[in-house]
Amino acid sequence: MIDVSHISKRFGTMTALDDVSLAVPRGSVLGLLGHNGAGKTTLVSILATLTRPSSGRARVAGLDVTGRAEEVRRLIGLTGQYASVDETLPGRANLILLARLLGATRAEAAGRADELLELFDLTGAGRRNARNYSGGMRRRLDLAASLVGRPEVIFLDEPTTGLDPVARRGLWEIVERLVKDGTTVLLTTQYLEEADTLADSITVLAEGRVIASGTAAELKERVGRRSVSVTLRRAEDRARTVEALRRAALVPAHDEDGLVLTVPVADSTDIAVVVRAVDEAGTDMAGLAFSEPTLDDVYLALNHPTAAHHATAAATAATTGHPTEAGTSS
């Protein structure tokens, strides 16, 4: 549905995109992951016909985005930091305006606006000026605005940046519902968790280049940082347990208060090895968990140094408020 082939974009001497290729099958979600300045917005602008590539070609539904921009625009919806709404108009009036511009009759436009307000939980705010909306409401209205014509492809450029975790999850649910309706989605994000949650496949962008792509699982495979975490009931059991694990040829690390031991393993069958070792040590376990590597690890492992720095920052932001791998201070 989206087909990007060797796209480059230069602004003067600055290269924003360097030979980027990717493909998004119909009805699937591609997560475009990258730090600030990686080129995500530039790529979305090219696909949404707002910017011309310097070289390479891109197609949406088989239509070239430069040669057949008019037709492409009939199929797409765009939500981003820049594609927004008329702040001087109420939310409902914005949606009606867009529907009318897309060819809906007055009645159809009003119906579609109310339907979207309902879907995005904005019915109560429909008659208030958009400029008085909270950040989360605004983002929902922006997304609603891009869905008015029921587009077949939507571009979501950092749809949840700056939102609190609750608002973010609310938006994720909406995106998931869209996908179930068969919409093709290209989503950009700095949040690894977001790509992991929403995307079927992930392309990692760093300084205008694709540095990795594949399914989330494939990326994790490449990085291979699976681990088993053992939560102890008593800190005094720690030394004994660590020793037992070492005897099983494992390399445990523990967090600051010494209650959580993180044990890197090759695959899930090693869970048994860990359990046996803990049992051998006669330790009381409060919990046991098997962790797939997170996308943080993927990003850090694949990236060059500057990107890695950004990744750490993004990961910290992304993982706030949900349980993460236990801190390891080995």
């Binding site: 008329d86 897309l102 179930k180 699982a217 797939e292």
Partner: protein
């Protein structure tokens, strides 16, 4: 500690649709005419918000008050036409100067919009770029006409405006002003599409405005200006419009001047509008 594996989309919610019916209509585009109608309607919504309309009406009235007091002495000078009251002389010129301000406002509003995101959305939609500017031009022209009617009425009721040309003459003057405002609106919109940033648009637009305004016969007859300024004032299109409007209002219209003003305005739009639209469409 949770297992952070993949989060496959749960099939439990499958089938939840965003639409209501079996095959909800996809909206794919409208005619250029519809776009112009909807977009000018959007800009005209301002008429419903007094906070946005009142300044446009009060500003010229305030200026009128100040100027009619400060420059009253001009009507005693030699170069001033005999037997004409200063307000009758001044108000037609004010119609023209507020037409220029209205044009400037179109440009500034466009720059603001270019940067607040709605235009980016329009550009990603199946909309002819030109209709965005045409819609704004129509709305601003209508607003401008309304403002001028208010000015004329206020002038007649409060300041004793009652020129020899009568109601018809004043309506003629109004038409000249509206046409000029329409044409300058395109000039300022072109400037805006080229400059893009309000920080740049404000001073440049303001400067153009000042030059058009003060190097003209708007406030005093050109005979009263120093010779170097008079030379410019006489080729300034504003002066033609002011002369045309003033002559119409004062009941002594010269068809040549009036037609020249309309002609110049039409040529300006014919040349500038395509440029404005092209600049506006230009991808960053």
């Amino acid at each position: 500690m949770s297992i952070t594996a993949d989060h496959p989309r749960s099939p439990a919610n499958a089938g939840t649709t965003t639409g209501s019916g079996a095959a909800p209509p996809r909206f794919r585009g409208s005619s250029a005419l519809r776009q112009i109608q909807v977009l000018s309607g959007r800009s005209l919504r301002a008429l419903r918000e007094p906070a946005l309309v009142l300044p446009g009406i009060l500003e010229p009235i305030l200026m009128l008050t100040v100027f009619s007091q400060v420059f009253r002495s001009v009507s005693q000078t030699q170069s001033f036409p005999a037997g004409v009251s200063y307000i009758d002389y001044l108000l037609p010129a004010f119609l023209i100067t507020s037409a220029v301000s209205a044009g400037l406002k179109s440009g500034v509003a466009l720059t603001t919009e270019l940067n607040n995101g709605i235009v980016a959305r329009f550009k990603s939609m199946p909309i002819h770029t030109g209709t965005i500017l045409i819609g704004r031009s129509i709305a601003d022209t209508v607003l401008n006409a309304v403002n001028m009617v208010v000015m004329l009425v206020a002038g007649a009721l409060v300041f004793g405006y009652g020129p020899a040309g009568g109601v018809l003459g004043s309506l003629g003057a109004l038409l000249v002003a509206v046409v000029l405002g329409w044409s300058l609106g395109w000039v300022f919109m072109a400037l805006s599409a080229w400059l893009r940033k309000p920080e740049a648009m404000q001073p440049v637009g303001g400067m153009v405005n000042m030059v058009l305004l003060f190097a003209s016969n708007a406030f005093v007859p050109t005979d009263g200006l120093p010779s170097w300024l008079r030379a410019f004032a006489e080729v300034n299109p504003m002066s033609h419009a002011i002369t045309a409007a003033r002559d119409l209002a004062l009941g002594d219209p010269d068809a040549g001047t009036v037609l020249a003003t309309f002609g110049i305005c039409a040529v300006v739009v014919a040349v500038i509008a395509p440029l404005a639209i092209r600049n506006f469409r230009r991808a960053s």
